[in-house]
Every structure is written in structure tokens, then in C-alpha cells.
């Protein structure tokens, strides 16, 4: 039935579109965190670790 082939082509297109949306949203979820400013604590800890190395 040609109805079936038309349907599956539509399905295919819809699926691809949906996957693209999911991909976009997934990246947004991740980028929301990478775009936050890094808490001072991180850099302080790194500096501390670097400084204590020099004392050893």
C-alpha cells in the first residue's frame, strides 16, 4: 500500500527532526552548566594544591 510507504517516510522525517531537537536540548542542558561562572572554590583549591607542592 502506498499509504504505508508515505507514512514511513513521514515517520522517518519526524524521527530525524525529533532527534535533532533532543540533540539540541541535550547540548543546552550541558551548556547551561558550562556557561555558569566557575565557583571561586575550584580555582582556590587548585592554587592551594599548586602551592603546597612547592613546600614538599
Amino acid at each position: 500500500m502506498d499509504h504505508q510507504t508515505g507514512g514511513s517516510a513521514d515517520d522517518d522525517r519526524a524521527r530525524k527532526l525529533r532527534q535533532k531537537r533532543i540533540g539540541d536540548q541535550l547540548r543546552r542542558l550541558y551548556d547551561e552548566v558550562t556557561e555558569e561562572s566557575v565557583p571561586e572554590e575550584f580555582l582556590n583549591l587548585l592554587e592551594q594544591a599548586d602551592n603546597s607542592k612547592n613546600k614538599q
Binding site: L17, R18, Q19, I22, G23, Y30, V33, L46
Partner: protein, 202 residues
């Protein structure tokens, strides 16, 4: 200048530059942001201590992600283990930094992610959001490239189905209608978020 090892200053600068990514990867593994930052900090310090074993020229991001992931899985009893996702907490986290409509889509996605098996979720996040190649992800997760490819593909499929099923309530029949509705919602979210970034700051 015989060995191309990174000196400490350069290593520190590169590591500092990766902190946002360590935080994002940790956030995807942990149940909440505080636990995630704890994990990311420990991973950062562990990477710093292990800097002598890093081979310059290789991918530092993948190297630090491996450390973070090992830390996460080796200390199963630590507080940063993913707890059952509390939808209210997820909602609060998301609504805090996005407009409500887009936050709802992200919430659907985030909830969908929690239904995925752990190995599929991490593969999908590393490849689909973290910008790592299949090869790097395979190295991070300690398995074959083919395994990662199949995990990512199964995760994508499952996620689409989960989202379809949760949002298909108003069109009980026909997959096409459900996915169209989903696409419409996503499109609206895109338009809203691109149009309202200016006044989204409190």
C-alpha cells in the same frame, strides 16, 4: 627540551579551563549540583596530582573525564552517587536559570534521561553534549567503540520514546501526532528562549 611534557603552569591553566566541563559531566552523573561540584573538585585535584602521568598532546579533557568517572564509580557510597531524581528538585534547578516554557522541555528531557540505564545515559551525554568522539568516549568508559555507538543509538531511541509517551497524552493515537506535538513544543521553546534572553535576567 627533550620530553614534550607540559610544565605545571601550562597544565594548571589547561586544567582550570576544563573546570566547566568537569562540572557539567559531574552534574550529569550526580543527583544534585552540590554533590556534582564535590565530585568535580575531587576529580580536578586528582588530575592535578596525577599530572606527571598525563601525556601531552593527548586529549586532556578525555583524560580528566576518565578520572572523574572512575572516582564516581569507585566510591559508590559517597554522597555524590545519583539519588533517585526528585522531580521537584529538578524543576527548581531548571526553572532557576531558564524561562518556564523551555524549562519544561528540559525537565522532560532530564526526566527522560533518568529512565535510561546508566551506561547509555553517560555515553549519550559524552557524545551528544560533551563533544567527545566515540573513540574518546570508549576510552573514558573503558569499552569498545562499537559498544559506545550502540549505547548512544539505543539511548537516543529510548529517549525519543520516553518523551513521546510522556507528552503523547493529548493525542493517544498515532505516533506522528505525538511527535508533531513534541516538535511544536520544542519549536516554541526555541523561539521563546531566543526571543526572551534580554529580559530573562530577573
Amino acid at each position: 627540551m627533550t620530553q614534550p611534557t607540559l610544565d605545571d603552569e601550562a597544565f594548571k591553566a589547561e586544567l582550570a579551563g576544563l573546570i566547566p566541563h568537569l562540572r557539567a559531566f559531574a552534574r550529569s552523573l550526580c543527583g544534585n549540583a552540590t554533590a556534582a561540584d564535590d565530585l568535580a573538585q575531587e576529580a580536578m585535584l586528582k588530575a592535578w596530582k596525577a599530572r606527571a602521568s598525563y601525556q601531552s598532546g593527548t586529549n586532556l579533557k578525555a583524560w580528566t573525564f576518565t578520572i572523574l568517572r572512575n572516582l564516581f564509580y569507585s566510591e559508590k557510597r559517597r554522597s555524590w552517587r545519583r539519588q533517585q531524581l526528585d522531580p521537584e528538585v529538578a524543576e527548581a534547578t531548571l526553572i532557576a536559570n531558564d524561562d518556564p516554557s523551555s524549562a519544561m522541555d528540559l525537565l522532560a528531557l532530564r526526566t527522560g534521561l533518568t529512565f535510561l540505564p546508566e551506561d547509555q545515559r553517560e555515553a549519550l551525554i559524552l557524545v551528544g553534549a560533551g563533544g567527545l568522539s566515540y573513540e574518546e568516549t570508549a576510552e573514558i568508559c573503558g569499552c569498545a567503540v562499537g559498544t559506545i555507538k550502540s549505547r548512544v543509538s539505543r539511548a537516543r531511541k529510548a529517549l525519543a520514546e520516553i518523551i513521546d509517551n510522556t507528552q503523547g497524552g493529548f493525542s493517544g493515537d498515532g505516533k506522528l501526532r505525538a511527535s508533531e506535538a513534541f516538535d511544536d513544543i520544542m519549536k516554541q521553546a526555541d523561539e521563546l528562549s531566543s526571543g526572551s534572553t534580554a529580559d530573562a535576567t530577573n
